[in-house]
């Protein structure tokens, strides 16, 4: 089976996030008050072939830990769903 994988990579707490900080600083000037905690990460999407959702999740998490993220500075969450499942 094929599964759509979505990996959401975030900088860990305390790691410099210049993009997030710059956006947050710009918001009041644009009239958006009361917004805080802006952080900018990245999203990686791919399709993976596996026998079931459990194996797809394990493969995606391994890929995430060994390549897509650097655990010293980043965290990630992995979402897996069968291809064509719009949910």
């Amino acid at each position: 089976m094929e599964f759509d994988v979505l990996v959401d990579v975030r900088l860990r707490g305390g790691i410099a996030d210049p993009a997030g900080a710059t956006i947050e600083r710009a918001l009041p000037a644009l009239g958006f008050d009361g917004v805080s905690g802006v952080s900018v990460g990245k999203t990686v999407r791919f399709t993976i072939t596996a026998v079931d959702v459990g194996e797809a999740t394990t493969l995606a998490e391994d890929l995430c830990a060994s390549f897509l993220t650097n655990p010293v500075i980043e965290d990630a969450s992995v979402s897996v769903s069968p291809v064509g499942d719009s949910a």
Binding site: L11, I15, A16, D17, P18, A21, T22, F67, L68, N70, V72, I73
Partner: protein, 220 residues
């Protein structure tokens, strides 16, 4: 016999000829090593130079570390061979797990290209054997992601084991504990963000990097 230093070239590396120049200025021979090859060709030391290996896509060094040549470099390092990572090369060595920690974006949110003053914290490394402890060296930096970070436990270990090789006198990028360069447990792998290879001749504004590149040749 002339000491030969291999300089690894990835797609996007741009400091390899500076490294070769510095090595040859100090009496060694520089030899370029293509990242997709896996043979070090009997070199006596390796430099992983600066640039933007594989475009720095995903993260600096993240893709470069999977190159065949990096497997050969890891083996060379495990056998005690001297390996120096400069700037992007430092990022590659941390991603490859040859050095601890990681390089995050500069705390001032700016790309920095300027001279810095480095203090030699130990002469027990392949980069500082010729240098005196406490010596201050003018060496330029040229980076956006040069802010060294690691967890508290790693930092405590680096301090206790005297593995912080160089510190910034005036920290330009937010690096934890003013760290500019660190070494591995064996002290034969060193990474630093500043560019000693660009400071090996007074014509370039400083010749203070010569003692560092010279130390690498001594260690080879």
């Amino acid at each position: 016999m002339t000491t030969t230093v291999g300089v690894v070239v990835f797609p996007g590396t741009n400091c390899e000829m500076d490294a070769v120049f510095a090595v040859e200025r100090m009496g060694g021979e520089g030899r370029l090593l293509w990242h997709a090859d896996d043979d070090l060709g009997g070199v006596d030391a390796v430099i992983v130079p600066g640039g933007f290996a594989h475009g720095d896509y995903l993260r600096p060094g993240a893709i470069a570390r999977f190159s065949s040549m990096m497997g050969a470099v890891a083996g060379f390092a495990a056998d005690g061979g001297p390996v120096l990572g400069i700037c992007n090369g430092f990022q590659v060595l941390t991603e490859a797990g040859l050095l601890p920690g990681a390089l995050q974006k500069n705390s001032g949110l700016r790309f920095l290209c300027q001279p810095t003053v480095l203090r030699v914290e130990t002469s027990e490394s392949i980069l500082t054997g010729r240098a005196s402890m406490g010596a201050e060296l003018s060496v330029p930096i040229n980076h956006f992601e040069g802010n060294y970070t690691c967890d508290d436990e790693t930092l405590a270990r680096l301090r206790a084991e005297d593995r912080i090789v160089l510190r910034y006198v005036d920290n330009p990028n937010g690096s934890v504990d003013d760290i500019a360069g660190v070494c591995n447990e064996g002290r034969n792998v060193v990474g630093l963000m500043p560019h000693p290879e660009r400071a090996c001749d007074e014509l370039l504004g400083s010749a203070d990097g010569a003692v560092l590149i010279g130390s690498l040749l001594d260690a080879a």
